[in-house]
């Protein structure tokens, strides 16, 4: 009990127990949904980084497809040009001066007030503007989508367990509803969606299909978005790219965080070695 090794083991055991306990509710919250498939993302793990090309393609998919219904209100255009972002340019003076960002922002119209007359106007966005919402409010969004408001995607990868893989799996997971599942018009079956199919299932009660109903029709089709870099224009690739983009948008500083973490761990390890050596020296010859 006096040895640091034992302490380490104990702390590790407590840690594992804590993680096990907390991981459980997250899984439980998924209800009977299928566990997400892996998108094989480059940014996973302590040394993972974003593939900038993938982020740019993901932004294109978001802008051309998702943005017509889903807002990303917490993102500013300038964020796209920050270090590690999809359009980061090391030669740009700052994110707001980044020419790609300026051009991309200008493609989008945002609401403003005319500084001369005070009247409501629409103008091209600048890097300082946030991504505009597609609907004036949640009620309007719900009314336009059969009662289900398309959620804001700003932090979606953090708001779902195993976020990036979940988004990828959901987008590629649309399958015809199994025979025996009662499905209402305006709803789609998706095995990765959270839910409980028991009340809608007329088949064998011990084989209730996994997943839930989603109001979003399958949003992507092969060839829908044009890629200029020769990447395959498939639903699978679009889904991966947009999932990566949303994962970046949910936490734009995550690569910076992991890189800092590696440095912090190395520092602490050296500090530990030094302190432990001092400890051995100070306690040398002291019975305890």
């Amino acid at each position: 009990m006096d040895r640091p090794m034992n302490l380490f083991k104990t702390v590790a055991a407590v840690l594992i127990a804590a993680v096990a306990i907390t991981a459980t509710p997250a899984m439980a919250a998924g209800g009977g949904a299928k566990h997400p498939r892996s998108g094989g993302f480059s940014f996973e793990g302590p040394f993972g980084r974003f593939d900038q090309g993938q982020l740019q393609r993901g932004y294109k998919v978001y802008r051309e497809v998702c943005a017509s219904c889903h807002g990303m209100n917490l993102l500013s255009f300038r964020t796209l040009g920050e270090r590690g972002g999809p359009f980061w340019d090391p030669h740009a003076e700052n994110a707001a001066a980044n020419r790609y960002v300026r051009a991309l922002a200008a493609e989008v119209q945002v609401a403003d007030i005319d500084t001369e007359t005070g009247e409501a106007i629409m103008r091209p966005a600048t890097p300082a503007d946030r991504f505009p919402n597609p609907y004036p409010n949640a009620t309007a969004g719900a009314a336009a989508n059969g009662g289900a408001f398309p959620p804001d995607l700003s932090v979606m990868a953090k708001a779902r367990h195993d976020g990036a893989n979940y988004i990828y799996s959901l987008l590629t997971g649309y399958v015809p509803a199994p025979a025996g599942l009662q499905i209402n018009p305006g709803q789609y079956y998706n095995p990765y969606m959270a839910g409980d199919m028991t009340p809608f299932w007329t088949g064998d009660p011990s084989h209730v299909p996994p997943g839930g109903f989603i109001a979003m029709p399958p949003p992507l089709a092969d060839g829908q978005v044009t890629y200029d870099d020769g990447t395959a224009q498939t639903v699978d690739q679009y889904s991966k790219d947009v999932a990566a983009f949303i994962a970046w948008a949910s936490e734009p500083h995550q690569v910076q965080r992991k890189q800092a973490g590696v440095g912090v761990m190395i520092f602490l390890l050296l500090f530990l070695g030094l302190t432990y050596a001092s400890y051995r020296r100070i306690w040398k010859g002291v019975a305890h």
């Binding site: 006096d2 500083h253 800092a260 761990m265």
Partner: protein, 441 residues
Amino acid sequence: MSDHESTYVPKTGIERWLDSRLPIVRFGADYMSLPTPRNLNYWWTFGAILMVCLITQIVTGVVLAMHYTPNVAMAFDSVERIMRDVPGGWLIRYVHANGASMFFIAVYIHMLRGLYYGSYKAPREIIWILGCLIFFLMIATAFLGYVLPWGQMSFWGAEVITNLIGAIPMVGEPILIWLRGGPAIDNATLNRFFSLHYLLPFVILGVVVLHLWALHTAGQNNPVGVLIPKERTAKDTLPFHPYYTVKDGVAIILFMMMFAFFVFFMPNALGHADNYIPANPLQTPAHIVPEWYMLPFYAILRAIPDKFGGVVAMFAAIGILFVLPWLDTSKVRSMRYRPTMKIFFVIFVLVGMGLGWCGAQLPDAPVVPGMASFVLLDGELNSYLWLTRLFTAYYFAFFLFIMPIVGLRETPLPVPASVSEPVLSGGATPAAAVAQAEKKG
């Protein structure tokens, strides 16, 4: 150890001038030279670790408060703004959010150490009671803090927990409205929770000062559990600095490595994904679960079929800790010499973890899926409901029956006469003692 003689000698004129007016340097110097039992093991380092946790939480919290907006329309976005646009904001916020979990890991170990080595027994009852008070304040502070990001779990957690107050007969409803600042959880609730979340850590700090004052009056316990008489102070103790500053230092850095691992590589692993969905009073999440460190008490709450009964049991689970010094009848402090009690202690730790596990499950879910069972009273026997009840029963029985009865009936092992006796003789045989002393250098 209160009669620890001051060895501080002011060297300069300024120091002498200050010392005769406000002996604050003397206070610090005396603190650093406090005689500390020489046999403290690494379990004793968690006190220092907790101090690091408290200061970390206060410092990061003060910075977060500079950027946070306690308003239902802006709270969620202001937290995300800290993550995105405040320089280093992501670090400060993740340290604060994971810091709460680290604080509780450390406090649970610290409390179990006190339980195992009998640190609550005379003359240390006040130290223990103040510690229980700190623990209770920590739970309150953590709960209030979890509401502030105003995500789904923030809102619905606040809903569930404040509703408990409403279960108190007669006065519950008015207290509930007073607490929430209105009939429902709204802006008034968020604002007062923010105010109290800022206040309570400083109350904790105040109680920590009392906790340490009591500790240095009664003297630290030690793994052997025997008191150190004055005439043995020289033999059985070491000055706090440098011996324990360096030992605590090693443990603190190890702890910080674990802390950093969570902050930098899995910062959201200890939280619930639903809390990144903005609070929506019209949409109840599928499962409302508190943070992991509250789960054992949440399980006890749900184990009782009656709502008010559950509230009473939950508070009793914490309240019983306050009277622990008078429930233990054993003359021996350290469980190192109480083989029977040691077994019950290990079961108690496992039961505590089991309660945490149960708190995260749906009460009517089967423990062993597919196993046949029957309905006992109000639930399937093969369900988390009954497993939780079994664990809850043990939790209370441990304090109310096992402690008093085992203390009277067990035959403890021979307790060493002093701290340095087992240290210097190494426990079993003289030969082993020599070998051990050599190994320790």
